[in-house]
């Protein structure tokens, strides 16, 4: 164990250094800049191992990662908000191309108008692109998840996004066990996935294809991603052996007899976790892996505990539909024998979550409108 007092961003960067990458593409955007700067510092000390390249845009960053990964290299980049949105085309392309890439996205509202607070809409807007998404609530989780994301991504040949809140996680300093390179090598060594680009062998890769072929490719991608929870579990077994820590796709703290649970992802789940003692017999489901959506796991936990009400904390709002986690949960619960009531606590814009707001939400009783939605601003 090797503890350092670092921020979430630094934790992500250190994890990248520990795992050993061939190529890092860097472009700065608030609140991610500390990630690329930390990696630059490693490079300056000759400790990075791979190449660190400042590129001219986020689009270029992910595009060059695609090229390098297709050539067999282990890559990394990080972005947020507008940068992620700018990459959108390439984000689709990477999952279709089945290249393993780990990218950190630090949640930040997408304008207009300009805003820096950690709305999760940036990463959630990319939920259909075929990338795995794992949400972290503190710096230690960030460190561990980045390492695990490499193992997951290179096993499944699907890109993986590691997501955490801007400022609440990225800029908050904690004591983090940052491990040693040798320990990390026990988890994951040098990249062994096959490079798509093989000089000397003909190959017309990702060229135009028919709808029928495309369907088969999408089906394969979909089925592969659905294997992620099982692979994640294997990885975490090994992680437990090496580091003494492990995670699940959803992390539950549900006191016996609790009929109400709060579903949250990111730093709000940590707020809820710490608030549980003050709340009256309420449980927490921390949603970590969001893609693939852990429908089975959620349903079985909810059924096992006979949950009657789920309050979903959504630091986002899909305009015209509502909070996204709540939507996905409702879809997952469809067909369940005794579905719980789902209430949506919308903190769009990245508004801070307080104990008071939680209490107000839990005390508020049933909501008149069909979507049972309550906005954070109304809960202050």
């Amino acid at each position: 164990m090797s503890f350092e007092l670092i921020s979430g961003s630094q934790a992500a960067a250190i994890a990248v250094q520990r795992v050993g990458v061939d190529f890092v593409a860097a472009y700065p955007i608030t609140p991610q800049t500390a990630i690329v700067e930390t990696l630059a510092n490693f490079d300056a000390k000759g400790e990075l191992g791979g190449e660190f390249v400042s590129v001219e845009s986020e689009y270029a960053a992910l595009a060059s990662c695609y090229g390098a990964s297709a050539s067999g290299a282990r890559v990394f980049t990080a972005t947020a908000s507008h940068g992620l949105a700018y990459m959108h085309e390439i984000i689709h392309w990477c999952s279709g191309a089945r290249v393993p890439i780990v990218m950190v996205n630090v949640n930040r509202t997408i304008g207009a108008p300009w805003s820096l607070d950690p709305d999760q809409g940036d990463s959630l807007s990319q939920r259909d692109t075929g990338w795995m998404q794992i949400y972290c609530s503190n710096a230690q989780e960030v460190f561990d998840t980045v390492l695990q994301a490499y193992a997951l991504s290179e096993e499944l040949l699907l890109p993986c996004m590691v997501v955490f809140d801007g400022f609440y996680v990225s800029h908050t300093y904690e004591a983090v066990d940052v491990a040693e390179k040798e320990d990390v090598r026990n988890l994951i060594g040098a990249p062994i996935f096959q490079a798509q680009v093989q000089p000397g062998t003909p190959g017309n890769m990702h060229a135009l294809t028919t709808g029928e072929n495309q369907m088969l490719l999408i089906k394969n991608r979909h089925e592969t991603m659905l294997r992620a929870p099982a692979v994640f579990e294997d990885i975490n077994k090994r992680y437990e052996e090496i580091f003494g820590r492990s995670y699940k796709v959803i992390d539950c703290v549900i006191p016996p007899g609790a009929k109400t649970v709060i579903l949250a992802a990111g730093s709000t789940s940590e707020t809820v976790r710490w608030s549980l003692p003050q709340l009256n017999n309420v449980g927490l489901i921390q949603l970590r892996m969001f893609r693939p959506f852990p429908a089975d796991q959620l349903c079985s936990v909810i059924e096992a505990h006979d949950v009657e009400k789920v309050v979903v904390v959504d630091r986002n709002c899909s305009t015209g539909m509502g909070g996204i986690f709540a939507q996905e949960l409702r879809a997952a619960l469809y067909g369940v024998e005794k579905p719980p009531a789902v209430q949506d606590m919308v903190l769009a814009g990245g508004v801070d979550l307080t104990l008071q707001m939680l209490e107000n939400m839990l005390d508020s009783g049933p909501v008149e409108n069909r979507v049972e939605e309550k906005w954070g601003v109304d809960l202050l």
């Binding site: 791979g50 190959g203 017309n204």
Partner: protein, 300 residues
């Protein structure tokens, strides 16, 4: 180019590809893959060649082709070269192939970023002077006065053809050159030269397009020749952004531009004043080029 040395084994292009009859781009890629292969990787962005390369399970080239989205050619190339280096494949030549759209317009940012970083690959733009793959729409490489699908008669392309070579010169890259299909020896010499240089190299190949330019499919080579002989598309090299050298000069005077324009239906019904303006533009650009060449000679 010695005829005795030509053999099909060194050719990287298969027959049976889907290029239009008389396609200048097909010929350009045939020449460049032959000159730069066989240890070659092609990064290919959206353009006619995305389609010409074939639909899997077919491929039109012996070397691996990595397709990428439209604006990303310059960036993906950077990644591929660095990825191959990381895997110990330092000798593989990486070529990024883009059309004029993917170079001059939507791809300009990636091109500029890669050039500025002096990425170690060869960026080759095959220029058919419009978005031909999608139906001949205007690009910033379309010459003044030409008609396109988005500038149909009585409209025409206003504004000059973007001078991509000067842009590349401004980046100070080690090597940039123009080439075209009617001068295969000239092109081969330049490509082989580029192969030996490290850093960012840029080749601009004029590739006539019979359906897009409104010409006979048999006229491709002759058009290419006229483009050079009129001075519309001069053949030259630029080293380090400052040293300009011609690789072809007219024997006496340049051919009048009308001989070039009259063979192409995209220049039909072009107003006389506009023809004159275009001729003046070509003359002016030629004079400026000669000045730069002259200035370079003095410095050498």
């Amino acid at each position: 180019m010695k005829i005795e040395e030509l053999n099909r084994e060194s050719e990287m292009l298969y027959s049976g590809h889907n290029a239009c009859p008389g396609c200048g781009a097909a010929l350009a890629v045939r020449y460049l893959t032959r000159a730069l292969g066989p240890n070659l990787v092609l990064v290919l962005t959206a353009s006619c060649w995305s389609i010409i390369s074939g639909m899997p399970p077919l491929t039109a080239l012996k070397c691996p082709i990595l397709h990428c989205p439209f604006p990303s050619a310059g960036s993906v190339g950077s990644g591929v070269k660095r990825g191959l280096n990381a895997k110990g494949k330092h000798d593989t030549t990486v070529v990024v192939l883009a059309g004029d759209g993917g170079t001059f317009d939507i791809g300009l940012q990636a091109l500029s970023g890669a050039a500025q970083r002096n990425e170690d690959y060869i960026f080759i733009c095959y220029d058919n002077e419009a978005y031909m793959n999608t139906g001949m729409q205007t690009s910033s490489a379309t010459p003044f006065g030409a008609r396109t699908a988005t500038a149909p008669y009585p409209l025409f392309k206003a504004g000059q053809k973007k001078d991509i070579m000067q842009i590349m010169a401004a980046h100070g890259i080690p090597y940039a050159a123009t080439a075209t299909v009617a001068y295969p020896e000239d092109m081969e010499i330049k490509l082989k030269k580029a192969k030996e240089i490290s850093g960012f190299r840029f080749i601009h190949i004029l590739s006539p397009c019979p359906p897009g330019w409104g010409t006979e499919s048999s006229d491709t080579i002759q058009l290419s020749r006229l483009a050079v002989n009129t001075g519309f598309f001069p053949l030259y090299e630029i080293r380090n952004g400052v040293s300009w050298e011609m690789t072809w000069m007219p024997e006496r005077t340049r051919t009048p531009l009308t001989e070039y324009l009259s063979r192409q239906r995209r220049f039909n019904q072009m107003d006389e004043l506009r023809v004159q303006a275009l001729q003046e533009e070509v003359d002016h650009d030629w004079d400026c080029l000669m000045e730069r060449v002259g200035a370079s000679e003095k410095c050498d």
